[in-house]
Subunit: 151 residues, 3 copies
Amino acid sequence: MVRSRANINNMQSVQIHNGFFIVLARGEELMATLRQFCEAQEVHWGQFQAIGAVEDVEIGYYDLPTRQYVFHREAGPLEVASMDGNISELDERPLIHAHAVLSRCDETLSCVGGHIRSARVALTLEICLWQVTQPLLRGFDEETGLNLLRI
Amino acid sequence: MVRSRANINNMQSVQIHNGFFIVLARGEELMATLRQFCEAQEVHWGQFQAIGAVEDVEIGYYDLPTRQYVFHREAGPLEVASMDGNISELDERPLIHAHAVLSRCDETLSCVGGHIRSARVALTLEICLWQVTQPLLRGFDEETGLNLLRI
Amino acid sequence: MVRSRANINNMQSVQIHNGFFIVLARGEELMATLRQFCEAQEVHWGQFQAIGAVEDVEIGYYDLPTRQYVFHREAGPLEVASMDGNISELDERPLIHAHAVLSRCDETLSCVGGHIRSARVALTLEICLWQVTQPLLRGFDEETGLNLLRI
């Protein structure tokens, strides 16, 4: 996923007493930009919620029988009706785990939901991120095939 | 949007260490009541989440090509399956930006999602509001036609 | 709802500066496990959000005309695209009030939303819980037939 340097610089953020308020700009890729922000600001563990609009989304679910994620691509744009996620560490790097409900910009306002692999900001994405004061670490879980939290 | 004085007074709130817990009563209009609360309590910047039920909702999306919001009216009642929003300032007045996923009270439990313009509380609406300690200000953005956050 | 002792013990939690981060394990029932956690940790009042996946869900809405909840059963598994809730006290016991948007693990990614009566964790459920520093108490409301917050 290639993003221009200009787009990275368009992001705004401000530190609040227990975290950050972050505004992503049109064209920025959510997951890569947020991961880069966490690395730069040394945010290892956190919880966030976001609203805004996205396009070119990969959204899906984990299929336990086949032990793999199944993703669908939605061209959008779609409203981010809800997005919740957390930030943890896997192999000493920040891992963004985000779920969302995205609503179609048409007369149905119908929704798709699930696990977000990637999403490009369509208009803006307004994120409130709270830092977690204790380690949230992940490790591989044999039973599910997922990198689950080991806290 | 006219609300009776009685309905305004039915709202309950309690200050918690970093914000407020607010309970809106049946019949109150969400956006006007919350804006009035923020003005009275001098809450300039914040983040909130809410659950409950609403009716007479205007919900929609921003259409970039025409640079205007498109709203649909849902009579409801609908469950507020998810509602996230933030409070910022535009021209020194509080602006409530709220997105929601609303589920139909029938056998489908199907959902509509998007940007909330107005919504009347159907049973109750339980809001947890965290104050943000740094200014969240909005300004007009030429590219999108929206009042985006300038933090 | 009977859960094995083993499942209760599979839950993980860590105290953070204003609450807890909790990870429920595959097979645990959300509502009973979270209520038991709150009793053990003396969490009387709080707000939480969660992502993960669930199955064997009872989800529905409150029907005001008949003054009763109507629940549908979803076998799942479903992704927890969004879950928000609060913890309050009714008759001095913790009451979990949780709403969620659940998305189907198929090509539609379609969503059902509403009030959660019960849900079994399918893979994992990652919960961020903030403690509320003032009493959130419930009492019976004649008009709606619900146990509403009296704060």
